[in-house]
């Protein structure tokens, strides 16, 4: 069974048809990269997966639970679907370790010490133990994004969503974040990643989804995608991206 199943999803912002008949699936342990030009609906699609954006037609199931159905306990569902944002969105009024423990305690109901231990071990995993008691504002962009990944992992997610996790970073910090993500993928995490880092897609992804104007135009294994993209739009897009 697929971990994330997206079937015939349609979404409108007012009269603007932002997602058109989107269908795809992400299997357990699979890493899927979503790419496409700006405004094609990538962020919108990924936010539909954990119900941060409502959609009007179609179905999305995460681990068998229907996201769009009225009775679904969305907070509970989201608590085990990790999400990482372009602009990190760490809580600036809390220390790094508090960022990692707050939802463990308030959402999962973990004890203080257990949450702290978990937080510290994850900080260790992303190589930032010595920053535990600093505030996010004192960290570089790359460090903040690693903390954000650790914060999501602290909830023991069954899958992770990334929305352009490196596009707000200075070039020299992109590598450290991609390394953490590559590590995660190697450990078998199910990941849906919106990114233009084609190097990451080549090295880590199993499949690539290409979107344009709200439609999924390509949904192929990475070998197929980088070998011979079938749609012209994807070819143009790839040549633009790979040229710089």
């Amino acid at each position: 069974m697929a971990m994330i199943e997206i079937r015939d999803v349609n979404k409108w912002f007012g009269r603007f048809h932002v997602l058109v008949d989107c269908t795809s699936a992400v299997d357990k342990g699979e890493v899927v990269v979503v790419c496409g030009p700006s405004g094609s609906g990538k962020s919108t699609l990924i936010k539909c997966v954990n119900g941060l954006e409502p959609f009007q037609k179609g179905e999305i199931h995460v681990n068998g639970i229907s996201v769009g159905t009225a009775g679904t306990d969305l907070p509970k569902l989201r608590s085990h679907v990790g999400m990482v944002f372009q602009h990190f969105e760490l809580f600036p009024h809390m220390t790094v370790i508090e960022n990692l423990t707050i939802a463990q305690e308030k959402v999962l109901g973990r004890g203080r010490d257990a949450a702290r231990d978990k937080g510290l071990s994850l900080l260790d995993r992303v190589g930032l133990t010595e920053f535990a008691d600093k505030h996010p504002g004192q960290l570089s962009g790359g460090q903040q994004q690693r903390v954000a990944i650790a914060r999501a992992l602290a909830m023991d997610p069954i899958c992770m969503l990334f929305d352009e996790p490196t596009s707000a970073l200075d070039p020299e910090m992109i590598g450290e974040v991609l390394a953490v993500m590559q590590d995660l993928a190697r450990d078998g995490m199910t990941m849906m990643v919106v990114t233009h880092e084609m190097g990451f897609a080549r090295n880590v992804a199993h499949r690539v989804i290409f979107m344009d104007q709200g439609r999924i135009l390509e949904d192929a294994t990475k070998e197929e995608f980088f070998g011979t993209p079938r749609s012209e739009r994807a070819q143009t897009f790839l040549s633009k991206i790979l040229s710089h």
């Binding site: 954990n50 569902l77 809580f91 009024h93 308030k106 959402v107 999962l108």
Partner: protein, 220 residues
């Protein structure tokens, strides 16, 4: 009356002190109650269902469109009718100021909530927080911090405005100075002295606000 005579200040100090205490109590209660109530009004306005949102907006607009003195007088007349017994000028003043200031604090908190980026709330929801948790743990603390100087400035205005309770005879600092002035037949000295007290308190608080603003300018 003759030249200024400040010796009358000394025997009236304890009396003025009780007046000042009431002014400060009134300010502190109206501030705390006003911020809590104002925050609820702002939340209702921003994310409540339509009727609640409209009701909140109407309440705030109403309070902000009527001169405070009239609200004080009206509440003084109306509260006993609602409760069915007289409440006294002091309690009436506390209720009035809390209700009135809530409208102003609500606008400040609304701006504060809107000053927190949408992404912050998204991050809270993505971690599984409910609306209430997200507000309490993520959005409101930041809104409050961003608005602290403005909230304090409003409180300084509130403190000055408490002198209006004089209209219903509640014994605040101004009323105490008024009474003492009459007793000793030295109204000018008494009014001047109470003005100095208002000035010293408000000026120090303003200085504090300036320091806060500087500190936050550095932090951001």
């Amino acid at each position: 009356m003759g030249p200024f005579d400040y010796t009358v200040l000394v025997p009236s100090l304890p009396f003025l002190w009780t007046g000042l205490q009431f002014s400060v109590h009134l300010t502190l209660i109206a501030m705390s109650g006003g911020i809590v109530l104002g925050t609820l009004l702002a939340l209702a306005r921003l994310s409540g269902p339509k009727p609640l949102s409209t009701a909140s907006a109407m309440y705030v607009d109403l309070m902000r469109s009527i001169p405070l003195v009239m609200v004080i007088l009206w509440f003084f007349l109306v509260i006993p009718l609602i409760i069915g017994k007289p409440v006294g000028a002091e309690y009436s003043a506390i209720i009035t100021f809390t209700a009135f200031e809530a409208a102003y604090y609500s606008e400040i908190m609304r701006a504060g909530i809107q000053s927190v980026s949408k992404g912050q709330a998204m991050a809270g929801y993505a971690l599984g927080m409910t609306y209430g948790q997200n507000m309490r743990l993520v959005v409101l603390p930041q809104a409050f911090r961003n608005m602290l100087p403005v909230l304090l400035t409003q409180t300084i205005i509130l403190f000055q405005d408490t002198s209006l309770v004089y209209a219903i005879g509640a014994k605040d600092l101004l009323k105490a100075a008024d009474i003492a002035g009459k007793n000793y037949n030295r109204p000018v000295e008494m009014y001047l002295f109470s003005a100095v007290i208002y000035f010293v308190i408000c000026f120090s608080l303003s200085a504090l606000v300036k320091r806060l603003q500087k500190r936050y300018a550095v932090l951001r």
